[in-house]
């Protein structure tokens, strides 16, 4: 999240082995594109949408982890609430998508604040395990409450007319709502970056991440910033939920599914690095969608049918994490000594 | 002034031992040779690298360069957890304890480790009775018998410091590193603790290195004193030699003489 972590980006630190790996990956992607260009672009956009959604959840998770040392397992539940609030506003109350896009995240933000004030704030000075467990319980409660209120069956909302059509990308067509999701997510990420890196508020938060007590000695009211950052993290996850709910739909286990992958993203990106979360989110999003395609193309080209493992996409994030952590124990951009 | 013993045959020796953190040199080319049975005080201003030296000697931190010798053996590459089994033990500057275990259990777990090795599959028997006698003896030695059943975290500060010494002794060491054993104690308590260290040394035939800031104690009990300043050895000598050394007065005692 700091300027120094931005500086660590760059190919300079790529070793020869790393270059070979990236070269091989590029080659495989080319093969896949050559075999089925339409499907490739389709899957690429799918990976982008998925990756952006992961990033939106990961940002809040990463901020809260960095600032408060709390592993907020309930953050996925906030994402889910974003989707269900959208359903409530659009399908049940008949409001427009644009109102939902603004109101639902704000409501999620309030839930986040309630969570922080009622439960998590009491656990800041406890060992990290306590916060993790409490958040775990909160996630369970929100999930069950969601089932109780909106039912077990998957729900969806009607996509607004402007976004319902398809956009022509030469080799394939893509639903506009997916491109819209990518654009909104990118804007949110940019806004978070500017807030953290360019504003005095962001400066005080960055200081707080490094040394909470010293920031307090300089006259910064850290508890108030904790609440604000919790609100902000929840709002961002809520935006992700609105986009996901509109584009794909929702069900009561989506929070749980997403939070686990999002942790993978945060760990792969390096705990404490917002920039790492963005990179890892996009990387894992694309890997999930493109790996099956690449393997299938490879199976076609080589004639070895066994290469096309069905359902491998779901496993890819975990394999990526195991590999990354065994090679780079702190993830891609993790800081030394953080959460170890 | 320096050590006149060969570090490779001393009870504890270092050669060119250094530790860098990024650009900061915390321990700088330290040569030490502590003969068996000596009580060596390590002194120096805050930030001189005394605790880092202990960390590097015990391999809690890997040295950047240099060698460590224990009783004539080169132990530079021996992992940290092996070293107590070779006879090198330490206590900590802060009160490091197994907080929720009883005082007796704190010592017993270590006595058991000393007897069984860095790892042992002893799955039979009651862990609370194995080596309990040895542990009780050590507690008696350091005067903690009456607190044997107390949870370690509930001990007073001074008793926690003593427990730290007891735990180090439980590893059955030949060389004992004590990091400010009297810190946070009043003069009476400090005196008792130092007497305890001396009696342990005599009874168990230990070589002791002790980081200590109380000059009165240092001058009265140590055989020799090593002065560290900004990571390197400024001087080594008997208390008299150190007291008469101008460099030491300048660096450690903050140039008071110059002001006077």
């Amino acid at each position: 999240m700091s300027t120094s972590s931005l500086r660590t980006l760059g190919l300079a630190r790529l070793s020869a082995g790393g270059a070979a790996v990236w070269g091989a990956i590029a080659l495989l992607l080319l093969v896949a594109f050559a075999v089925e260009p339409g499907l490739f672009v389709d899957q690429f956009v799918g990976g982008l949408v998925y990756g952006m959604t992961l990033v939106l959840i990961a940002l809040g998770l990463s901020i809260i982890l960095g600032l408060l040392g709390i592993v907020n397992f309930a953050h996925g539940a906030l994402f889910m609430l974003g989707a269900y609030f959208t359903y409530q506003l659009m399908a049940l109350w008949g409001l427009s998508f644009w109102i939902a896009l603004v109101v639902a995240p704000l409501l999620v933000g309030l839930v986040g604040v309630a969570m922080e004030r009622l439960v998590l704030q009491w656990l800041y000075d406890e060992p990290p395990l306590a916060g993790l467990l409490a958040a775990f319980g909160l996630a369970l409660m929100i999930q069950e409450a969601t089932r109780a209120i909106w039912g077990d069956t998957p729900l969806s909302v009607v996509t607004p007319a402007v976004l319902a059509q398809s956009a022509d990308l030469a080799v394939t067509t893509v639903a506009r709502v997916r491109l819209f999701s990518v654009v909104v997510a990118a804007l949110v990420i940019l806004a978070v970056y500017l807030l953290i890196e360019r504003t005095d508020f962001g400066l005080s938060v960055r200081a707080g991440v490094q040394d909470r007590e010293m920031a307090g000695f300089l006259g910064i009211d850290m508890p108030r910033r904790f609440v604000l950052m919790f609100f902000l993290g929840a709002v961002i996850a809520g935006i992700g939920g609105v986009l996901q709910g509109t584009a794909v739909g929702m069900n009561p286990t989506m929070g749980q599914q997403y939070i686990i992958i999002t942790f993978v993203v945060v760990v792969v990106g390096g705990i404490g690095s917002l920039f790492g979360s963005v990179v890892a989110g996009l990387l894992i999003g694309e890997a999930v969608f493109l790996t099956p395609l690449v393997l299938r193309s490879l199976a076609d080209v080589t004639g070895i049918g066994a290469l096309a493992v069905p359902g491998i996409g779901g496993l890819v994030p975990y394999l990526v994490m195991i590999l990354v952590l065994l090679v780079r124990p702190r993830g891609l951009y993790g800081q030394e000594g953080f959460m170890e | 002034m320096s050590d006149d013993v060969d570090p490779r045959s001393a009870a504890l020796g270092t050669e060119g031992l250094s530790k860098h953190f990024g650009g900061i040199v915390a321990v700088d080319e330290v040569d030490l040779a502590v003969p068996a049975g000596e009580l060596r005080a390590i002194i120096g201003p805050n930030g001189a690298g005394k605790t880092t030296l202990f960390n590097v000697v015990t391999h809690a931190l890997a040295p950047t360069s240099g060698s460590v010798y224990l009783g004539g053996e080169d132990i530079t590459d021996v992992p940290q957890e092996r070293r107590p089994h070779l006879g090198l033990a330490r206590s900590f500057q802060s009160n490091e304890l197994f907080a929720e275990l009883s005082v007796l259990e704190n010592v017993r777990v270590i006595a058991q480790t000393a007897a069984a090795g860095t790892f042992s599959f002893s799955l039979l028997g009651d862990g609370r009775s194995v080596r309990a006698e040895a542990a009780r003896d050590i507690l008696a030695r350091v005067g903690l018998s009456e607190h044997a059943a107390t949870e370690a975290t509930n001990l007073s500060h001074g008793d926690q410091r003593r427990l730290g010494i007891a735990m180090a002794v439980a590893t059955e060491p030949s060389v004992l590193l004590l990091d400010e054993p009297t810190s946070g104690m009043g003069p009476g308590e400090s005196r008792e603790t130092v007497e305890l260290v001396q009696s342990l040394q005599d009874d168990l035939g230990l070589t002791v290195l002790m980081i200590e800031h109380d000059m009165e104690i240092v001058l009265s009990v140590s055989d020799r004193i090593t002065v560290l300043n900004r990571g390197s050895v400024l001087a080594t000598g008997t208390p008299d030699e150190i007291q008469g050394d101008d460099d030491v007065q300048d660096a450690y005692l903050g140039g008071v003489r110059e002001e006077l």
């Binding site: 400066l203 | 805050n46 001189a48 007073s156 500060h157 005692l253 110059e258 002001e259």
Partner: protein
């Protein structure tokens, strides 16, 4: 009334009480030192004054410029004009020099000009955009002082500013202490183990030992009385 008044302060940690009835006063425009050995209670006193979570204050009172500090939130204390330069400096390592100073200025009621701090500390001028973690100990100490001074404080608490620094930097810091107290009218409470620094900078000295203020002496007396130094400071 003194600018800072500490009365009968009892404070400690979970493990036990550290301060026992500490009394000290710092008058406006004074430089006062608090001297004592490791573990005597110097930093505990400082942390009690600035309202840190730990130690817990169990009794007594702390008043600054008429305000009851024990009833003030820690983050409101700097706005009263009392600023801390903590032990080990605690610059924000990932933030640049400018960011460190700007941060402090932003949270002060009546801050000084950030750019003026670079004139005040020319050694920082060359490294405005350098993350603090890549600075030497002496440079970080300058930054910590600049960060405090930019808030335009009435009083600065300096906790072991010379710890682990080379002699020529110690001289420089002594000079800075003189300048900010004499030219800029900032009152200073200095915590030190290094008697020479205290002798060179402070007007008056409190000696603390085992959580008790055992003596209050003039610079003259501290310079001359070797037994006093021996007894409480180990020099």
């Amino acid at each position: 009334m003194s600018l800072l008044e500490v009365r009968d302060l009892d404070a400690g940690y979970e493990t036990g009480q550290v301060l026992f009835g500490v009394d000290l006063d710092v008058e406006r425009d004074e430089v006062v030192s608090l001297l004592g050995r490791n573990g005597a209670g110097k930093t505990t006193t400082m942390r009690s004054i600035v309202g840190a979570d730990e130690p817990t204050v169990r009794g007594g009172s702390i008043t600054f410029d008429g305000h009851d500090l024990l009833a003030t939130e820690a983050h409101d204390i700097p706005r009263l004009g009392l600023s801390l330069v903590p032990e080990a400096r605690r610059c924000f390592g990932d933030l640049t020099v400018t960011e460190n100073i700007r941060l402090a200025a932003h949270h002060a009621t009546n801050p000084r000009d950030v750019a003026a701090m670079f004139e005040r500390f020319p050694e920082l001028d060359d490294m405005r955009d350098r993350p603090a973690r890549h600075m030497s100990g002496g440079e970080q100490q300058m930054l910590a002082i600049a960060r405090s001074l930019v808030t335009n404080p009435q009083m600065i608490l300096l906790d072991e500013p010379c710890e682990g620094l080379a002699p020529y930097i110690v001289r420089r810091i002594e000079d800075i202490i003189h300048e900010i107290s004499e030219n800029e009218g900032v009152t200073i409470l200095l915590v030190e183990q290094n008697v020479a620094v205290a002798l060179a900078t402070a007007d008056r000295h409190y000696l603390i030992d085992e959580g008790h203020i055992v003596d209050e002496v003039t610079t003259e007396r501290l310079r001359e009385d070797e037994t006093l130094r021996q007894r409480y400071l180990g020099v």
